[in-house]
């Protein structure tokens, strides 16, 4: 089922503008992530799609050809996974998963069959009759997913499904969740503020900032071709290079840097993995810090501008602190983005 949002906006009764008019289009079977910093309106958008929040007048939410803007939640046939999971403590794991099917007034056999199927899919067999309170965080997350998916919803909506888990578990379950969503073969929209999570799970990422979707694209597109400095910074932590752009050259305090094209009125950004310590490099810098991260060193360089620029250095040895090094950045790795007055 396709999901289409047309100029969906939301102002809360207290006057907070949580969502500015927003467009979004999700193809059938696509897994889309809503990525953005805290407070940018991700949850609000998700809840409007679920029908848990009423959007401002003039907004339009479509499921395929079905205009659901004014349809209450219970008729929308959406599967929702809440941040806190919201599992029913008065029911067993099985009771939770069967609840949506019971609401559809299916026969006992049909319910049993579907519940067994979903339980197997989510590998919850050992916990079928457990109480919710006797499950670990990861198991609860899977039960929440199974409960949302069991009634064959038109779309699956997940609000930070991994944020209630601790960091180590989050990485493992990220892969598991990605696998499950693919196997479900369902249109899914999930909210996160963690770019690694978005990249790992989604086919397409919609980056949000201040109540607006600022760019939508595949993870690769967003990473390689950010349209704004906000996206560049948020997806992949791009750093701004300070200096004066003259034609296709950036004049920095540490030297002159070749740009891929003329870029007046542009800011120049680069990522740490594209900053190389190179004897023949055009820029001079001083090593300010160095952190060993297993696969590489993260080297902090001063002298390239007011702010520290980091380089991921893959060599066997880290350069000595305080030493002078030469730095190179390949022109193709530099991102020229339109200058923004109001940077967020």
């Amino acid at each position: 089922m396709t999901l289409t949002l047309k100029s969906v906006s939301k102002t809360y009764p207290d006057g907070t503008v949580a969502l500015q008019p927003t467009e979004l289009h999700v193809e059938p079977g696509e897994i889309v992530s809503l990525l953005g910093p805290s407070g940018c309106g991700k949850t609000t958008l998700l809840r409007i799609i679920a029908g848990l929040e009423t959007p401002n007048a003039g907004s339009e939410v479509r499921f395929g050809d079905d205009d659901v803007t004014n349809m209450p939640v219970e008729h929308r046939k959406v599967g929702m996974v809440f941040q806190s999971y919201a599992l029913f403590p008065n029911m067993s794991v099985k009771g939770n998963i069967a609840y949506g099917l019971k609401m559809q007034k299916l026969g006992r056999d049909a319910i049993e069959e579907r519940v067994t199927e979903v339980i197997r899919l989510c590998q919850l067999e050992p916990y079928v009759d457990r109480r919710i309170t006797a499950l670990s965080g990861g198991q609860r997350q899977r039960v929440a997913l199974a409960r949302a998916f069991a009634p064959r919803p038109r779309i699956l909506l997940l609000d930070e499904p991994l944020s209630a888990l601790d960091a180590a578990l989050r990485v493992t379950l990220r892969e598991e969740l990605a696998g499950l969503l693919r196997r479900f073969n369902i249109t899914a929209l999930f909210v996160t503020h963690d770019q690694d999570e978005a990249m790992a799970i989604a086919d397409k990422v919609a980056v949000m900032s201040h109540g607006k979707v600022v760019q939508t694209g595949t993870p690769e597109e967003l990473y390689r071709n950010p349209k704004t400095s906000f996206v560049a910074g948020f997806v992949g932590h791009a750093m701004q290079l300070e200096g004066q752009v003259r034609g296709s050259v950036l004049e920095m305090s540490g030297g002159r840097l070749e740009l891929p094209r003329a870029g007046d009125d542009c800011d120049v950004y680069v990522r740490a993995e594209d900053v190389a310590l190179d004897e023949a490099g055009p820029l001079k810098a001083t090593v300010e810090s160095s952190t060993f991260l297993g696969t590489h060193y993260r080297v902090g360089l001063s002298g390239l501008g007011a702010r520290t620029i980091f380089a991921n250095h893959a060599g066997q040895k880290s350069p000595a602190l305080g030493s002078q090094v030469r730095v190179a950045m390949h022109p193709s790795a530099l991102m020229l983005l339109p200058r923004e007055d109001d940077r967020s």
């Binding site: 939640v73 219970e74 046939k77 809440f82 919201a86 008065n90």
Partner: protein
């Protein structure tokens, strides 16, 4: 364990306090089964007085039980949805409403009864029927039910649970039955036992509202103290105990459970 002086003092104080409370109780119970109270237990033990109580006041016992059940049904029907409404919309309006429902707690039963009499006393059919006493009991016990249910509901994330159920296709009524009531059950249970116990033991209000043909258990007790032999009155106390003590114990158990959930 060594018995030090402070420890022995503690035990002694506890013992004396218990004795202070228990001895009159036991004496009263004993009086209810002795043949002649003034001659003491040596006059022999008998169940005759209990039989007399049954003969004279069986109606009161049944009326009290009936009233307690009716009162429970009313407080459940009014109190649980009311607590739910208050829990779903926290804010100053709910606060004020909660205090308003709780007013009967602070007002003496006599005043409450007087108000009821002033307002409805002239409606003869209502005034002389058992529903008049019921109205008083419901008024008096409702706050206990509401508060007990509210205490449990306000610690669970009711809004999100309901949203979860709604997203799975449950309408408002189903959500209330499937999610709200089962999760509020410990509070409902504790509230129910409180209501029943209070209704059976209520005297102040009932004394003002009762008619000669409608005596509840405590009103009958007062009546027997005033007009019967001491043995009959004591036997009455015994009967009262037999009914109320198991209820009190169940109430303790239920409120412990509700508290454990609230933590």
């Amino acid at each position: 364990m060594k018995l030090t002086l402070p420890k022995m003092l503690q035990i002694a104080v506890t013992f004396v306090t218990c004795a202070f409370l228990l001895v009159p109780t036991l004496q009263s119970v004993l009086a209810g089964v002795t043949v002649n109270y003034f001659k003491g237990v040596s006059s022999g033990l008998t169940l005759k007085w209990i039989g007399r109580v049954w003969e004279l006041y069986a109606d009161s016992i049944f009326l009290s039980i009936w009233l307690a059940i009716a009162c429970l049904v009313c407080t459940l029907i009014i109190g649980v949805p009311a607590a739910y409404g208050l829990a779903r919309r926290p804010g100053w309006v709910s606060r004020v409403l909660e205090e308003f429902i709780s007013l009967p707690l602070a007002i003496p039963g006599l005043a409450l009864a007087l108000a009821l009499l002033q307002l409805y006393g002239s409606m003869k059919g209502f005034r002389t029927s058992w529903t008049f006493i019921l109205a008083g009991h419901v008024l008096y016990t409702l706050p206990f039910m509401v508060r007990s249910v509210l205490a449990v509901l306000s610690v669970i994330d009711l809004k999100t649970l309901e949203e979860g159920a709604a997203s799975l296709g449950a309408g408002p009524w189903r959500r209330f039955c499937d999610i709200v009531v089962p999760n509020a059950m410990p509070g409902i249970l504790a509230g129910a036992l409180t209501v029943v116990t209070l209704s059976i033991g209520e005297f102040n209000l009932t004394w003002m509202l009762h008619t000669p043909y409608l005596k509840t258990l405590p009103v009958g007790l007062a009546d027997s103290y005033a007009s019967m032999r001491l043995e009959v009155a004591s036997a009455y106390t015994l009967v009262f105990f037999v009914i109320i003590v198991p209820l009190l114990m169940a109430m303790q158990w239920a409120s412990n459970r509700a508290q454990r959930i609230a933590q």
